[in-house]
């Protein structure tokens, strides 16, 4: 039951501006990832790019794993250029999932954060509400699906091209209360604001964080984030953390 395997790319298509949806065919044993977990992919030939790159489980099926990849550098450029039929080395699922809490789930996604929370929305379905923010309409991925799956969806865009003009913080007061549990993924600055809001209003909140990673399995101690109990590893104790334990600087 090793977490290390080779997977075939069976689909690779643009999903939004600079973003590709990539589907992989996995050996059975690698399945059953939970929302919030991630995989490390070897994007190139051996040696360079050297390290595997982390990507959230976006969606998964019987023998399938879907990831959403934003082109930001060399590794993601190589990955989004791969042809179906090619193979990649994969390690995972890794990290801690979003914990189940007996409260009303409010899921907040900023931009690429949807890569992490899509499967969580799918899991809670009509039982959850969603605040979905992006720069503009083109940045909103799978919006129709999300509207169909979730109980309620508030959309914000910086330029007002879809939903309310503004960002997720303009909606949080309306949607979050002490009976909520907030799950958030998105840019660090957004996560910081969401966290601070929730701590202040005594709302239970979990955020999914990012850091440069080398190993993904907790051995290099390279991916740490500052918490009240010292540095913790994003790949092992995270990527999902309780918002009130993070020390933002």
């Amino acid at each position: 039951m090793s977490k290390l395997f080779t997977a075939e790319i069976i689909e690779n298509r643009p999903a939004a501006k600079d973003i590709h949806l990539i589907k992989l065919h996995l050996p059975r044993h690698a399945m059953n990832p939970e929302p919030g977990q991630f995989y490390m992919l070897q994007v190139g030939l051996h040696n360079d790019p050297l390290l595997k790159r982390p990507f959230c489980m976006f969606d998964s099926g019987a023998h399938e794993l879907a990831i959403l990849v934003k082109r930001v550098g060399r590794g993601t450029a190589i990955l989004t250029g791969k042809l179906p039929g090619s193979f990649v080395d994969v390690l995972g699922p890794l990290g801690t999932p979003y914990p189940r809490v007996e409260k009303e789930p409010l899921i907040i996604s900023g931009g690429m954060g949807m890569a992490s929370v899509y499967s969580l929305i799918k899991k809670y379905g009509k039982g959850c509400r969603v605040i979905y923010g992006a720069g503009s309409r083109e940045g909103l991925i799978s919006l129709d699906n999300i509207r169909e799956m979730a109980g309620e969806v508030a959309v914000t865009t910086d330029d007002g091209s879809e939903g309310t003009r503004g960002n997720v913080m303009d909606k949080i007061g309306e949607y979050a209360n002490k009976g909520s549990v907030v799950y958030a993924c998105g840019p660090e600055i957004m996560l910081m604001k969401v966290s601070r809001y929730c701590v202040e209003h005594e709302i239970e909140c979990y955020v999914s964080l990012e850091q440069n990673m080398a190993c993904g399995i907790g051995s290099c101690v390279g991916c740490v984030v500052k918490t009240l109990e010292g540095y913790k590893r994003v790949c092992k104790e995270g990527p999902v953390f309780r918002a009130d334990e993070i020390v933002w600087d």
């Binding site: 090793s2 977490k3 290390l4 070897q42 051996h46 040696n47 360079d48 790019p49 050297l50 390290l51 595997k52 080395d89 390690l91 850091q211 440069n212 990673m213 080398a214 190993c215 993904g216 399995i217 907790g218 051995s219 290099c220 101690v221 390279g222 991916c223 740490v224 984030v225 500052k226 010292g230 540095y231």
Partner: protein, 302 residues
């Protein structure tokens, strides 16, 4: 076919060990393969007191390599002995403990304590370029290194003493000789090479500490050269490392004079690397009719 090698008092069933700081305390890798297959496990550097380490980002990628500035985060000597050692002892392999200190006294206290524990070897990290006080002065100054070793050698009575050399020096042979003269049982090399990388868009360093240590395939040709130079300068065994990704790389170090090899960065790329190197060396020996791995140590033909 004999793959056993001897480093000081330590008998290794094969010449493959892990490089300090790249294998955690072993537990993360136990789910990938049976750690008893390794010649030795070398754990993260241990200091007298727990260390918090450096702020993030601590790592970045470079061409065929990576820079790290972990800042020697570790649980500290007592917690290591209490919490990590008994787990590691479950595997039928040698345990090497990498130690670091800010002063000669600290090194001595750690070594005296470990000398009584159930471990096989102590590796002195005198070269880590990450932490301002992390021993940089010992590793690049032959006189300071000699002074440190004189004292430490007296504290290490029961275990194999290995000195890990810094590559950030003009002439590695000088440091290898100091280690030999002061009674080290073996030397290991190379530690990471001081390096730096800049994000041209933010104009900021890619790691928070500005400067870190370069490891991975990029440094392999430098490491092989240093192992060869050291091999021709001293008689004590050498543990070679620096960019070993597979058994071919490992054999390059052995031919250059390493009695054993350590795998570092490769553990991050493929958690099964060490085991694959063990197997690959076996295949190479079989293919080339080599009955004893010791016969090819330093076997480079000029």
């Amino acid at each position: 076919m004999r793959t056993e090698v001897v480093i000081g008092k330590m008998k290794m069933k094969n010449p493959v060990m892990t490089a300090s700081g790249t294998f955690g305390y072993g537990n993360e890798y136990a789910e990938f393969f049976d750690l008893s297959k390794l010649g030795a496990i070398n754990v993260k550097g241990i200091s007298l007191e727990p260390m918090e380490g450096n702020p993030s980002p601590r790592i970045c990628e470079t061409p065929c390599g990576m820079i790290n500035s972990i800042g020697l985060q570790n649980v500290g000597l007592e917690a290591f002995i209490r919490e990590k050692l008994s787990y590691l002892r479950k595997f039928r392999t040698n345990i090497v403990v990498n130690v670091l200190g800010n002063t000669v006294e600290e090194y001595i206290r750690i070594c005296e304590r470990l000398d009584e524990e159930e471990i096989d070897a102590i590796e002195l990290n005198v070269s880590c370029p990450n932490v301002k006080k992390g021993g940089i002065s010992f590793g690049v100054d032959e006189y300071q290194l000699a002074g440190l070793l004189k004292d430490v050698r007296r504290s290490v009575k029961n275990k194999t003493l290995i000195v890990k050399l810094s590559p950030n020096v003009t002439d590695i042979r000088v440091f290898a000789k100091v280690a030999e003269e002061e009674g080290s049982d073996a030397i290991s090399l190379i530690n990471t090479i001081t390096a730096m990388s800049i994000d041209i868009n933010t104009r900021r360093p890619k790691i928070a500490n500005l400067i870190g240590g370069l490891s991975g395939p990029a440094i392999k040709p430098i490491a092989v050269r240093m192992v060869w130079e050291a091999f021709n300068a001293v008689k004590i065994p050498i543990i070679g490392m620096g960019g070993i990704m597979n058994h071919e790389d490992a054999l390059e170090f052995i031919l250059a004079g390493a009695s054993a090899v350590a795998i570092g960065t490769a553990n991050f790329v493929d958690p099964e690397s060490t085991m694959k190197v063990v197997e690959g060396i076996g295949s190479y020996m079989a293919d080339n009719d080599i009955m004893d791995v010791n016969t090819i140590i330093g076997g480079l033909e000029k």
